[in-house]
Amino acid sequence: MKKRGMGRYIFLALIAPGVLFITVFMLIPLFWVILSTFQEGGSFSLNNYISLLDSVYFRQVFGRSVRLSLLSTGLCALLGFPAAYYISRYSRHKGMMMALAIFPMFTSPVIRSFSWMVILGRKGIVNQALVGLGLFARPQSLLYNEFSMTVGFVQLFLPQMILSLLGVMDAIPTDLTEAAGSLGATRLVAFLRIVFPLSVSGLVTGAVLVFTGCMTAYTTPQLLGATDTQVLSTMVYQYAMSLRDWAQASAVAMVMIVVTLAVSTLFNRLSRRINPLAA
């Protein structure tokens, strides 16, 4: 009996520092910030939020953030699935393939933005090809707009999606797709009916990571976007750093948190439809 009691105390003692740290440095400040957004001049007020929702500018920025994040998540899923499937099933040099896949995560934002300038710029490679092949008369505006931002997001977060999917796909036994094939399923059908449903939990994890990443990314919209393609994160920066309006900045941040949580929950619900066994 004594031993059991001791063990419990030791356990609590070990986790106490961690819990304390998170409480003091994350939970309490977060709670404080949440409270502060509901105050104006010391008393309870919804003005911070009302003024946001009133602003046409904010509504556009909000819509854009959500729209681009969802779009990027969708693109990452579309591109990530075949890539992860290939690496999981067919690749001889799995380690090297994985390294290539996650490589973008290690480049700095400034270098990435410059590289995109070289590729998508007015005089960039893509435009040179488009005009050179006679597809367009003049160079197209491929940069500093929602297109380039989406491209930047996808490049940045595709590795997350691939890694999430890879983890789940590796756990799917190969004989399942073989069984499907022996029963008459083409590779595509086997993928859609067997691999895809069983990968859904990885897809959800990846989607949540990508969506959250896109919603909160700052440097990519900053360097690849324009003033008329602002997103919530650049808006928070403007309020906080340029105007030092902490109340408004916090309100925008709260909106970001709520949206991210809502969308993540939605993804989880959807996944359960596709695969009843999904966690």
């Binding site: 036994p173 004989d175 399942l176 073989e178 069984a179 499907a180 094939g181 022996s182 029963l183 008459g184 399923a185 083409t186 059908v189 009916r193 067997i194 449903p197 069983l198 695969n275 009843p276 066994l277």
Partner: protein, 348 residues
């Protein structure tokens, strides 16, 4: 004409060639087993037939057609995996119906065929269960049902009973054989369990290092193994050399042995089962008598197992327990003439 022919197959990858110049013929309606220990190439052969891999050289002929390059999903062969490979996210019904869905069978007909098949494998009432809610034996039957419901031209089994306990294995192998005979399909069955395959097969192909050493009915193999490997595989434990001299067969110590089996060559390795060796006192007067000394005596209940040292090697003997000889006892062994199987030295 055989239903399935494998001609001159070479298969393997990189430096690992598993089959070389491999040939196999299976008749329609036959239940053929590929028997051997790990690495002999039986699974490789089965997977080639199924279409999971392609041979480097050679051809596969089915029903007169060359199907070597026909893709997996068009072969219409049922495959039962060792691990069952049930789709975890689908119910039993959906699992079994999968192949029918691929063939775009109309709903009503599909339902009937699935339910009939479930009844056949004794899983009525399980349609809405998920694989994870079922026992190993039940899952095995789902796998079986799923493969058979598509009415395949050929059924392929890859050690389907290995993961079950002994009692269940015996029951299930009887079931499989019964259903095969009832529905009349051709089956190729891979296993490493000799008793299992002998119990249910029409023909057995014993494989060793990528080659079929003997393919025959179980009885013929059991009674007439063609190589020492096979002999050991089917239970012959005692081997001794015989040389032909002057019209008679002599052991290494010069004793004459009478054989009833005809054989070729002038030197053979003879083998005999422990059950077919008589044991008695030195003056018993057995035919094909070999004197010896008991080294080990083990009481097994109904039988007694002896290891007896003789001039021509150590013999394992299994005798009834009417008289038990103790260690060190001098005995004579009698090799029953028509139970001695000679194997030509060229085959050893």
């Amino acid at each position: 004409m055989p239903l399935l022919e494998l001609r001159n197959i070479t298969a393997g990858y990189d430096r690992n060639i598993i089959l070389r110049g491999f040939n196999l013929e299976v008749e329609k309606g036959e239940f053929v087993s590929l028997l051997g220990s790990s690495g002999c190439g039986k699974t490789t052969t089965l997977r080639l037939i199924a279409g999971f891999s392609e041979p480097n050289e050679g051809s596969i002929i089915f029903g007169g057609r060359d199907i070597t390059h026909v893709p997996l999903h068009r072969r219409n062969f049922g495959f039962v995996f060792q691990s069952y490979a049930l789709f975890p996210h689908m119910t039993v019904f959906d699992n079994v119906a999968f192949g029918l869905k691929m063939r775009k069978v109309p709903k009503a007909e599909m339902r009937k065929r699935v339910m009939d098949m479930l009844a056949l494998v004794d899983l009525e009432g399980f349609e809405d269960r998920y694989p994870r809610e079922m026992s190993g034996g039940q899952r095995q039957r789902v796998a079986l049902a799923r493969a058979m419901v598509i009415q395949p031209d050929l059924m392929l089994f890859d050690e389907p009973l290995s993961n079950l306990d002994a009692k269940l294995r015996v029951r299930m192998r009887v079931e499989i054989r019964r259903i095969q005979q009832e529905l009349g399909f051709t089956a190729i069955y891979v296993t490493h369990d000799q008793e299992e395959c002998f119990a249910i097969s029409d023909k057995v192909a014993i494989m060793n290092q990528g080659v079929i050493e003997q393919m025959d009915t179980p009885a013929n193999i059991f009674n007439g193994p063609k190589t020492e490997f096979i002999a050991r595989f089917v239970g012959f434990e005692n081997f001794f050399d015989l040389k032909a001299e002057g019209g008679a067969w002599l052991t290494d110590s010069g004793a004459p042995i009478r054989l009833t089996q005809r054989t070729e060559g002038s030197a053979v390795k003879a083998c005999i089962r422990p059950e077919d060796v008589l044991i008695g006192p030195p003056d018993a007067g057995f035919e094909n008598s070999v004197p010896g000394e008991v080294l080990v005596s083990t009481f097994l209940g109904r039988h007694v197992q002896y290891n007896v040292r003789t001039a021509i090697g150590e013999f394992a003997v299994k005798a009834e327990q009417d008289h038990v000889y103790s260690i060190g006892a001098q005995v004579s062994l009698g090799l029953i003439a028509n139970k001695i199987i000679p194997i030509p030295q060229t085959n050893c």
